[in-house]
């Protein structure tokens, strides 16, 4: 570039700092609006009693035209709070990579995906003429206050990813939560009012080298719109019900007989589904093989005996 022109551009930039400032602010305004997600922590009442259990809701709201399909969140909380558990019955999350859990003292983390992405929740019975896209609930965390004093729940990791096929990280705004635990000691537990069992679900039998070293594995995922799924149990031929998590390698390899899976929600309602695997090339146990051989020999002997018997009868008649 010509040296004189370059000098003039520099001079212009220096002389018009206000114009340039306005220019950059305008650009930032437009661009930031196009890439943002808001994560918010909410509770019904910011003053709680000691030993009172309460919900803290985690909401996700993408900006207009933004679409989020995955998140990875970690929250830190003050030492006068204890994390009890979570409820995901009203969650927008379809598949949890990690359900809310405490991996280190004072930190609860969770991650999951929303296939195809989430761009806001619509309630068709309560349409808003200005903006129909409402925040979606990721999870309801249950905490209890231990000691009197101020407490906090803060985001210390918040990754939200765009539904763009590349996993592009989005700029995420956060709204932390401050709660005051007062002097009163009023022990209470959260009342879970849910009488509806989990929805029917399907079980898939899979065998893949990348899953449990190629073992036969059952895969399942149930939904419960009330309180969410608390745990699963599985039962195979000759075994009792035992706790299970999907993916679940079957006890019998290859599986034999019908396999039952029970999904239980946080209020104890359950739904049982079953699968009868039809495994090709299934290995037959050795005792079954011997039994089959004996049976075949017996049938052959009976046929021979019957033919000889008929022949003898005919011979006598002649």
């Amino acid at each position: 570039m010509n040296i004189n022109i370059r000098k003039n551009i520099i001079a212009f930039f220096l002389k018009n700092t206000i114009v340039l400032a306005v220019f950059f602010v305008c650009n930032l305004f437009f661009i930031q609006n196009a890439f943002a997600v808001t994560l918010t922590l909410k509770t019904e009442n910011n003053t709680r009693h000691q030993q009172e259990q309460f919900f803290v809701d985690v909401f996700l709201l993408p900006d207009k035209n933004e679409n989020v399909n995955a998140f990875d969140v970690s929250l830190s909380y003050s030492s006068n709070l204890t994390f009890i558990g979570s409820n995901d019955g009203s969650s927008i999350v379809n598949l949890w990579v990690e359900k809310p859990n405490v991996q280190e003292e004072g930190n609860v983390s969770f991650s999951g995906i929303i296939p195809g992405g989430f761009s806001g929740l619509v309630n068709p019975m309560n349409l808003d003429p200005i903006n129909n896209q409402k925040p979606g609930l990721l999870t309801e965390l249950i905490f209890v206050g231990n000691n009197e004093g101020p407490s906090f729940i803060n985001f210390n990791k918040q990754t939200t990813l765009a539904n763009d096929g590349l996993g592009t990280a989005l700029e995420t705004k956060i709204n932390n939560l401050i709660i005051n635990i007062d002097k009163k000691i009023i022990p209470s537990t959260i009342n879970l009012n849910d009488t509806i069992p989990p929805e029917p679900f399907s079980i898939t039998l899979s065998q893949d080298p990348a899953l449990f070293d190629g073992k036969y594995t059952i895969i399942f995922e149930a939904k419960d719109k009330g309180t969410g799924i608390n745990y699963y149990e599985a039962k195979e031929e000759g075994t009792d019900w035992q706790k299970a998590e999907s993916p679940y390698p079957t006890i019998h390899q290859p599986p034999t007989g019908t396999i039952f899976v029970k999904a239980v929600d946080y209020n104890g309602n359950s739904t049982v589904e079953e699968i009868t695997p039809n495994v090709s090339g299934k290995e037959i146990p050795i005792y079954s093989k011997l039994l089959a051989i004996v049976l075949v020999l017996l049938v052959v002997a009976l046929i021979i005996f019957f033919i000889r018997f008929i022949k003898r009868k005919i011979h006598r008649v002649i």
Binding site: I5, N8, F23, S90, V122, M125, L127, N163, S206
Partner: protein
């Protein structure tokens, strides 16, 4: 004064180029129409009569819109396949789910499969379903499918970009290189479209392409992304096979089984190559995001 004007023009052009870029990121949404009516027994919308039978109209949700002529349209409920239908010859479809719905939040996803088995991206809507209501979502425009005839094209040769959409629609094809380029074409009466792209303006290296459709004031969002390389030779894409990103067990679906395989390797050392979708040597939330984009249920 001339130099001042020259500088001003440069700044002006820069300013507007930024704004245009910002606006192109935000594509206009589809004109979706969402409504719900109460259909519980005795309700006004259900008509009178029928007393004493305890007749309960099930909670239902109906989706309608455009896909491709005679294509299979699938509806996923919370990420799992719930029901399928076939679009009419005019590409219009209507699909109703009236079982397995209780009151609560649901994520509904629709996608279509063209005559060659290529998939659209998911159309998603998160709805709060009220028990005893009939919800309708209309004006859905399923994204076009897309494919290229070469995985590598010799610079300057033509690359054929093709796919399917609703019949007689305007197709805009985006080619991502350092500068995003837009080309347009039309789909025929069978919904098929084709563009011969002269690649002489493209640099050597990896590029991406995607397409969207518009017809009668309705517009789809951009569909699946397909990558190709501009190099020194032509390598034609192999026909057959589904080769879906995220299909880890090769069953031509991206579903709970694939998710389970990925979840098994989450934070584990030395994951198999096929599981590490973004090839960064580990399974992280980014791999799950990539899988969620290509989800078929």
């Amino acid at each position: 004064m001339k130099k001042f004007l020259f500088c001003f023009i440069i700044i002006f052009i820069l300013f507007f180029s930024f704004q245009i870029k910002a606006f192109t990121v935000v594509s206009p949404p589809q004109p979706l129409l969402i409504s719900a009516i109460v259909v519980s027994p005795g309700g006004g919308n259900n008509g009178g009569g029928g007393g004493g039978g305890g007749y309960i109209v099930p909670t239902s949700v109906t989706f309608s819109g455009r896909a491709y002529p005679s294509s299979k349209v699938s509806l996923l409920k919370d990420g799992q396949l719930a029901i399928t239908t076939v679009a009419g010859p005019d590409s219009k479809f209507l699909i109703t789910l009236n079982s397995g719905l209780s009151e609560g939040n649901y994520l509904f996803s629709l996608f279509s499969e063209d005559s060659a088995g290529r998939h659209s991206t998911l159309f998603n809507v998160s709805l709060f379903i009220t028990s005893g209501t009939a919800t309708t979502v209309s004006g859905i425009f399923i994204t076009p499918t897309i494919a290229v005839d070469k995985s590598e094209v010799k610079q300057g040769d033509n690359l054929v970009i093709f796919g399917e959409s609703t019949p007689a629609s305007d197709i805009v094809i985006s080619v991502h290189s350092p500068i995003e380029v837009f080309k347009s074409t039309h789909s025929d009466q069978s919904g098929a479209y084709l563009l011969n792209l002269d690649t002489s303006f493209l640099d050597y290296g990896q590029h991406q392409t995607k397409s969207k459709a518009s017809v009668a004031n309705e517009i789809s969002t951009f569909g699946p992304i397909v990558t190709f390389k501009v190099g020194s030779s032509n390598i034609f894409t192999k026909g057959g096979g589904c080769s879906l990103v995220g299909d880890l067990n090769n069953d031509c679906k991206v579903n709970l089984v694939d998710f389970s395989i990925l979840a098994y390797w989450y934070k584990r050392a030395n994951p198999p190559t096929k599981v590490d979708l973004n090839k960064d040597g580990k399974v992280s939330i980014v791999d799950f995001s990539i899988m969620a984009y290509y989800w078929t249920g």
